[in-house]
């Protein structure tokens, strides 16, 4: 399924693109004889006109493979009868230019047989929210919040400064201020730092103040994470 991108700056989406399983009627051709086809169609439709009116159909040309077929003429004769051909099933005999000229989409349908057509799949573009990277020291009194992403600080975080992120926090200078990861409640967020001298660390609201950090890793490289609602400080 293609979903809308995760970009933080979006206005209200105007549309969604979704994949759905639908039941469609398939018109399987057994003959390329246009006159025969028209006559038999008319006869069938006369018996159940309501069923056929505006009925979307997909053409299956497998049965007439290798035979000459005027696809545009076939399509227009179907339309005259009130049917709505929407596509043609991909098979060896279908010329895609013909199909497009006739206003048909080319459907790849797997029927579970060995002739399964491998769909050309676009690589899914995973719109991972870009991490926020801070290169300048975060000074006392400053507050930096990486909304919806990770926060990477390549400089010291001073005492009295506060850094917050919805995701992980990485600090490559001394961490002396407050660091709060997973502030929207993501308990899997972690804090990584080179030198833990923080006033306070918190993951998803579970916090510890410096007084209780001292013995567990003060001034050392550590990672901090939640293990079953308990804050763990583990030397790296």
């Amino acid at each position: 399924m293609l979903s809308t991108s995760n970009s933080a700056v979006t206005s209200l989406p105007a549309f969604e693109l979704k994949g759905r399983m639908l039941t469609l009627s398939v018109l399987r051709l057994l003959s390329t004889d246009q006159e025969l086809l028209s006559a038999q169609l008319d006869a069938r439709m006369a018996s159940m006109p309501e069923l056929f009116r505006h009925l979307p159909v997909i053409l299956d040309l497998e049965g007439v493979q290798g035979q000459a077929l005027d696809l545009p003429a076939l399509v227009s004769s179907l339309r005259q009868r009130g049917l709505i051909p929407v596509g043609v099933r991909a098979s060896d005999g279908v010329d895609s230019a013909d199909a497009v000229a006739a206003g048909l989409g080319i459907m790849t349908i797997s029927n579970g047989s060995s002739r399964r057509v491998e769909p050309v799949r676009e690589k899914p573009v995973v719109a991972a929210a870009a991490s926020m990277v801070v290169r300048q020291p975060v000074r006392s009194g400053q507050q930096i919040y990486a909304r919806g992403s990770d926060l990477i600080v390549l400089a010291p975080v001073s005492a009295g400064a506060e850094i917050l992120a919805d995701g992980h926090i990485h600090v490559y200078g001394p961490l002396r201020g407050r660091a709060l990861a997973g502030v929207q409640g993501d308990g899997s967020a972690r804090i990584f730092c080179q030198s833990l001298e923080a006033e306070l660390v918190s993951i998803a609201g579970v916090y510890r103040i410096s007084e209780h950090i001292q013995e567990t890793g003060h001034g050392r490289p550590v990672q901090i994470y939640l293990d079953d609602e308990a804050l763990c400080i583990q030397p790296l």
Partner: protein, 268 residues
């Protein structure tokens, strides 16, 4: 165009005015036409340290309000030809300074001076922000103790976001550290933060270390910028700092205690 230097600290009583006076005097002595402005409206001190308090007629606020022109308010130093003082008003408060008024005064001074030294008031409010807003360079005066260092850190953060250069996305203001009232003996005993500690916390360039010195107080009381007292260690330290500011490479002195005769004999 003049280069505008703000001398600031966040915390009060750390030596901003002493530094402003000495720095301005040092720049002027080096031959640059320099004016030092007292932004501490309501707590006027710079004129005392500069020894010109009895010659104040008009002040900074008078100029902003259009009561006087700049030439009437500028006080020419009697010792150095190229040094001028623009005193603050003692009877008004910091709200008397307007962003537009400050801009106009600095613009006019820029035309005729090489350096404008702004002596910032303590705090992080209006007066301090106005003093720093137009600056090209900042000298952060810090004492080797934790509260001063934290306040300095705070003000450095503010400088990086609330100045003209930051708002216009220009090249950021250069920030340099001046560590004042440094007592090597107390550092050794662990009673004071060391130069290394302070530099590590603030992560900015060190412009100079001024030792704790009796000469600072006596110079202040006499109305002489301590830099003009060439015999004092503090004066020499300021001299070095000014030279470094002007691009000279000088080694840092006064980082360790002078040893007395007995100390030297016994190598303790």
């Amino acid at each position: 165009m003049a280069r505008i230097i703000v001398v600031t600290s966040g915390k009060g009583g750390v030596g901003k005015t002493t530094t402003s006076a000495s720095f301005a005097a040092g720049l002027a002595k080096a031959g640059h036409k320099t004016v030092v402005i007292d932004f501490d409206v309501g707590l006027r001190n710079l004129d005392l340290i500069m020894g010109c308090e009895r010659r104040v007629v008009y002040d900074f606020v008078n100029v902003i309000n259009g009561d006087a022109n700049l030439n009437q308010a500028l006080i020419k130093d009697k010792r150095i030809d190229t040094l001028y003082v623009l005193p603050a008003s003692q009877t008004r408060d910091k709200d008397a300074l307007t962003q537009e008024g400050v801009r106009q005064v600095l613009e006019e001074l820029s035309k005729s001076f090489d350096y404008i030294v702004c002596d910032s008031p303590a705090g992080i409010e209006r007066g301090a922000l106005l003093a720093a807003y137009h600056a090209d360079d900042a000298i952060i005066v810090t004492n080797p103790e934790v509260s001063s260092v934290r306040d300095s850190d705070r003000i450095i953060g503010i400088l990086s976001s609330k100045t003209r250069r930051a708002e216009r996305n220009e090249e950021p203001i250069t920030v340099k550290l001046l560590l004042a009232r440094y007592a090597p003996a107390r550092v050794q005993k662990g009673e004071m933060l060391s130069v290394e500690d302070v530099c590590e916390i603030l992560a900015i360039d060190l412009l100079g270390v001024v030792p704790e010195s009796k000469s600072v107080l006596s110079a202040s009381n006499a109305g002489i910028p301590v830099i003009l007292d060439a015999d004092s260690d503090a004066g020499q330290a300021y001299e070095d700092a000014v030279a470094r500011f002007l691009g000279e490479d000088r080694p840092h002195r006064f980082l360790s205690e002078k040893k007395g005769l007995l100390g030297r004999l016994f190598g303790s």
